[in-house]
């Protein structure tokens, strides 16, 4: 059975098993098949030396322009620090009701905050971020429910507090979206 799919495109180095875990989590949450791809670009073109960060708007547009005709949604995965002009940093962003989103691993590692590294936390946080940005591509906005994956998170502690699942309301909204494969 050919299910519509979601493509996760990694840019830069990611551990294979790490990516497979992310892929499984997305598949489980959105009930779509998930493909993993590697992207090859020169990230230096997106680097802003004044900010010492990578331009998230430009990266998003880049990923959006990539040809994946068989994919319903695409999420670009990065492990560099990304920003948008108005904010000091972002974990990720997406086109609301669009095709594309991006997510960065950079600010999810404990070492950034002077704490001993923990790969389990890192993986969990990144899964949530990817699922969150995908939710935006399906038209879901931020949710006030504390544990919903669609809850807005500005710090890693906020990410840790939420589950990697949609709450019932968001699930119901997702299933009403016309482009959601499992819509009712």
């Amino acid at each position: 059975m050919n299910l519509p799919n979601i493509t996760l495109v990694s840019f830069g180095y990611f551990d294979k098993s790490f990516l497979e875990n992310i892929s499984e989590a997305v598949q489980s949450e959105y009930r779509c098949s998930v493909y993993l791809r590697e992207g090859h670009i020169d990230l230096s073109e997106f680097y802003d030396p004044t900010r010492r960060q990578y331009n998230g708007n430009k990266l998003l547009k880049l990923v959006d322009s990539m040809p994946f005709p068989d994919s319903l949604k695409i999420i670009g995965l990065f492990n560099v620090d990304i920003f948008v002009p108005i904010l000091t940093f972002i974990f990720g962003q997406a086109f609301l009701n669009g095709r594309t989103g991006i997510a960065s691993l950079y600010r999810f590692s404990n070492e950034r905050y002077g704490i001993a590294g923990d790969s389990r936390f890192l993986q969990d946080r990144f899964k949530k971020e990817v699922i969150h940005e995908l939710g935006h591509t399906f038209g879901l906005i931020h949710c006030p429910v504390m544990t919903c994956v669609m809850r807005s998170s500005t710090y890693v502690e906020d990410v840790d507090q939420k589950y990697q699942h949609l709450c019932l309301n968001c699930r119901a909204r997702l299933e009403k979206q016309p482009d959601y494969p499992d819509s009712k």
Binding site: P85, I86, L87, L96
Partner: protein
């Protein structure tokens, strides 16, 4: 808060507009963008936005000038000013010109969230305030003025019309018709409703006490004046003052009152400092003021100063159709206050009430119902519970003589045939009363 908050983003940089647009969209706001102040003002003219997030530095009109224009159009607008180059000077200018906040780009995402959350809270409070105001209007409206009769409907229309004005009002009507209630309804429906409603019962005070009550006094103004005291005119500033039984005030007080009404200034008793107060006057009387003017008892100039609008409340006997509603209202009121289960009224008792003359009008009816609930069995008010059983004055009296006979008998029974007290109540002398008793062959019933 049910409705979607709307945000207008004004910045000449496309990347800033796009980022903020996405950010706010994901948060569920309604968002629009403008690349300059001129376009933003055009958008604002055709629709309202709850929050405007504007850059200071823009080509053409800058953000501060735009802020001033937005505030002049709609002072309650929330405008957040942002800049990449913060200075104390521009921050102070922006806040002085009415900016809600002044922020530096780029923001920490948490700061942006807090900023918008604070702004949203402000909007929510303003919305809640509006809703409460509307609720207060409907609660304070005319719920205590009970009645479906044409007379009551006309009265309510008059209240509605006069409430919105600042005109002085004289409310006339017999004792117990609800003149103070009407005065309160006028105030509660007026733009002054959030300010005091001050009531003065002119008939209950001597001239000197009334003067002190109305104008206040300074410490030591007279024996017993141990403190400075604000007068009722001062307390009613921005609100309404209700002068009940206005016909009872002395000639001297009439002169004083006229002066205050014309100048809206006065001096406290024993004081020398002129105080001004902006109040609206509502008066009430059960007397015929015009007749008093003709007899020279009430000043004509004061009468015309007060009687810009006259609202007359008809006596209860002229709106007997409202009696069932009033009875239900009072039964409910007193059963609730006495913690008794709701009572009903026997149809025969209700019919008798509608035939009763009610010289004391609604106050008398209210007293009857209260008494009936206290002394009755609590379930149903019957004829035996109302002081109408043995003697009442029927509105079906065929002639003036029948009416007089019934009325005198009623009062005699009320005072247990005490001639002196009955004569005093009827405002006749004992000889006249004895003559009436003989004429109508009245006898005590026991």
């Amino acid at each position: 808060m049910a409705r979607k908050i709307s945000i207008l983003i004004v910045d000449d940089e496309e990347s800033v507009r796009d980022s903020l647009y996405n950010w706010f969209l994901e948060d569920g706001f309604r968002v629009e963008c403008a690349e300059n102040a001129k376009k933003a003002l055009t958008i604002l003219e055709s629709g309202q936005f709850d929050i405007v997030l504007a850059d200071i530095k823009m080509p053409g009109m800058d953000g501060l000038e735009m802020l001033r224009r937005i505030k002049s159009l709609r002072s309650e607008s929330i405008v957040i000013v942002m800049t990449a180059f913060a200075t104390v000077d521009t921050a102070v200018k922006a806040l002085k010109d009415g900016a809600f906040d002044y922020v530096t780009k780029p923001f920490d995402p948490d700061d942006l969230t807090h900023l918008i959350r604070n702004a949203t809270k402000q909007i929510s409070l303003a919305d809640e305030n509006e809703t409460l105001k509307k609720k207060m209007i409907s609660l304070e409206n005319v719920e205590d003025l009970i009645g479906n009769s044409e007379a009551m409907k006309n009265l309510l229309r008059e209240v509605e019309n006069v409430a919105q004005t600042n005109s002085s009002v004289i409310i006339t009507g017999e004792s117990g018709t609800g003149k103070e209630l009407v005065a309160r309804a006028i105030h509660a429906n007026s733009p002054r409703r959030f300010f005091p409603f001050v009531s003065v019962h002119c008939g209950a005070l001597t001239e000197s006490l009334l003067e002190s009550e109305l104008f206040g006094h300074e410490k030591g103004a007279f024996t017993g004046a141990m403190y400075n005291r604000k007068g009722r005119f001062e307390m009613a500033d921005s609100g309404s003052i209700f002068l009940d039984e206005i016909a009872t005030i002395s000639s001297k007080m009439q002169v004083e009152l006229l002066r205050v009404l014309e100048s809206k200034t006065f001096i406290r008793v024993g004081g020398n400092k002129e105080i001004s107060s902006d109040f609206r006057v509502i008066c009430a009387t059960n007397k015929d003021l015009k007749n008093m003017v003709e007899k020279g008892i009430f000043r004509e100039d004061l009468f015309y100063r007060l009687n810009v609008v006259n609202i007359h409340i008809p006596p209860l006997r002229e709106r007997i159709g409202d009696i069932p509603l009033l009875v239900d209202y009072f039964i409910n009121k007193y059963c609730t206050s006495m913690n008794k289960p709701p009572a009903t009224i026997d149809p025969a008792a209700l019919k008798r009430l509608q035939e009763f003359n009610f010289p004391g009008n609604i106050r008398e009816l209210e007293n009857m119902i209260e008494r009936a609930i206290v002394v009755g069995d609590g379930k149903k008010i019957g004829l035996k519970d109302l002081p109408l059983e043995k003697s009442f004055v029927s509105n079906t009296a065929e002639s003036l003589e029948d009416f007089e006979k019934g009325f005198i008998l009623q009062i005699l029974n009320k005072y247990s045939w005490n001639i002196s007290r009955t004569a005093k109540a009827l405002k006749v002398d004992r000889v006249t009363l004895y003559n009436k008793i003989r004429k109508y062959e009245l006898k005590p019933e026991n």
